[in-house]
């Protein structure tokens, strides 16, 4: 039971990261290799804010807003110029990732640091004693994922975004400002990664290389789930995160990650359009 909750917690956080990555890729055709660094900066933002005396939950909000603002700046200065150029976007965002990591090393140092959780209390669920903070993280991540689904499925913005993903030319000819929708989606993706980093900061060691550990499984989750559907990406996060957690129980981390890769390749081979077909996809 405790293990299942740990897995669910990881899957939900991975879902936040993967949804952001997938939305950016689907709308801009940009594989944002700096997405993991957005998560890392979310964690460092909380570290910096709490060290400055800001209460933890306020620091989480500050981190999310800060990453949204950083996302807006990065979109304006870099991503907008790379849209539709896959190779250039990989090089550009990889360069940005290095820049952000080194900036953090310069400011905070290379050593890992810790953030105190807002509470060390435990709660009892079905006879299991479980940290209250982890449950809170799960609840917030689930609520934000649900909100993201509602945003894309139930709002005018979501309709325009899904249309722009499926047929950007037709969406534009209908009056959808595809560039603005893409820019807003990039900001949303950065904010989600920042929130994920902020939430997990008390659960992990915060170090400059933190992002890479989430970028790779998020990318696999996007591929396995089908990047055109928010549901698909969440399902992909469930498969990749769940398999990674379960296999890590029995195998070394290297073998477990290798097995997850093999599983992902098999799933992509069997269902190339993803576990869940996007509502906006072409037939």
């Amino acid at each position: 039971m405790e293990f299942a909750l740990d897995v669910l917690s990881y899957v939900l956080v991975l879902g936040l990261v993967a949804v952001g990555l997938a939305v950016i890729f689907a709308l801009l055709r940009v594989l944002n290799l700096a997405h993991g660094e957005f998560l890392m900066l979310g964690a460092y933002s909380v570290l910096f804010a709490t060290q400055s005396g800001i209460p933890f939950w306020a620091a989480v909000v500050v981190a999310t807003v800060a990453l949204a603002a950083l996302g807006a700046i990065v979109e304006m200065l870099l991503i907008r110029r790379l849209a539709g150029r896959p190779l250039d976007s990989i090089l550009g965002t990889w360069g940005l990732a290095i820049l952000l990591r080194q900036a953090v090393v310069l400011h905070f140092g290379p050593a890992s640091q810790n953030v105190d959780a807002p509470t060390s209390a435990d709660v009892v669920i079905a006879g299991i004693v479980y940290p209250q903070y982890r449950l809170t993280v799960m609840a917030i991540a689930a609520a934000v994922l649900l909100g993201t689904v509602v945003l894309f499925v139930g709002t005018r913005f979501g309709l325009h975004a899904r249309a722009a993903i499926a047929r950007p030319d037709i969406a534009a000819a209908l009056g959808v400002d595809v560039r603005k929708v893409a820019a807003r989606s990039f900001v949303l993706g950065a904010a989600l990664a920042g929130l994920a980093g902020a939430l997990i900061s008390p659960l992990i060691s915060v170090d400059p290389n933190l992002g890479l550990g989430y970028l790779v499984p998020a990318f696999l989750a996007m591929l396995v789930g089908g990047g055109a559907s928010v549901f698909g990406v969440i399902a992909g996060a469930g498969v990749v995160g769940g398999a990674d957690s379960v296999l890590s129980l029995y195998l070394s981390s290297v073998w477990a990650q290798s097995a997850v890769f093999v599983l992902a390749i098999m799933l992509i081979r069997l269902r190339p359009s993803g576990l869940v077909r996007g509502r906006g996809e072409r037939p």
Binding site: L159, A163, A171, A173, L174, G175
Partner: protein, 233 residues
Amino acid sequence: MLEIRNLRAGYGGSAVLHDVSLRVPTGTVAALLGRNGMGKSTLCKALMGLVPAHGSVRFNNEELLGLSPHAIARRGIAYVPQGRGIFPNFTVLQNLQLGLASRGGRGVPQHVFGMFPQLEPLRGRAAGTLSGGEQQILALARAMVAAPQLLILDEPSEGLAPLIVSELAALLPRLVSDGHMTVLLVEQNLELVQRAASFAAFLEKGAVVGAAAASDLGPRSAAVHRYLGLGAG
């Protein structure tokens, strides 16, 4: 008034339209006829800003060239592309709601269902499950949601049964009957053009090479024979 002057457009380094000039008066259905590969669809895309173009495209005395596609749509210009461009996995209602993108508003105007009553019971159906004729009606209705001043139709009769084409031929003149709306009908279907348009221009090798009143476009007319290769001549 739509006024196209010396329009040139293409893809990458290859030019498709070399010198297109055309005037379409407000309140008319004007047709553009031409064989396959003459640049008809490229012209539609150039008008909508979907391909790079040079020259001049003025609509209601405003230059459109250089504007982004969404900005062109927001100036009252609606486009039904070849192949309809509907979103097959969206419902009929969602497809119609996309038509509101250019004018704002939350609900699909009821008059659209009045104009296309066959769509009313299909609101919740996935657009991809509709018949070809219903999909064409949906594409047309989605364009009309925006209450456009100029409607560009790229080969709307393609793949449709003669009965549906006949309905389309009756509908288009009704759309412009109040004198506020203009239709540019890009077609190969001579019968539809004869019935729906007031005049037709001929596109050949990327340039407008002639024009004729629709009433003069019988299968034996010289223009039809010369530019479309139809009729006995």
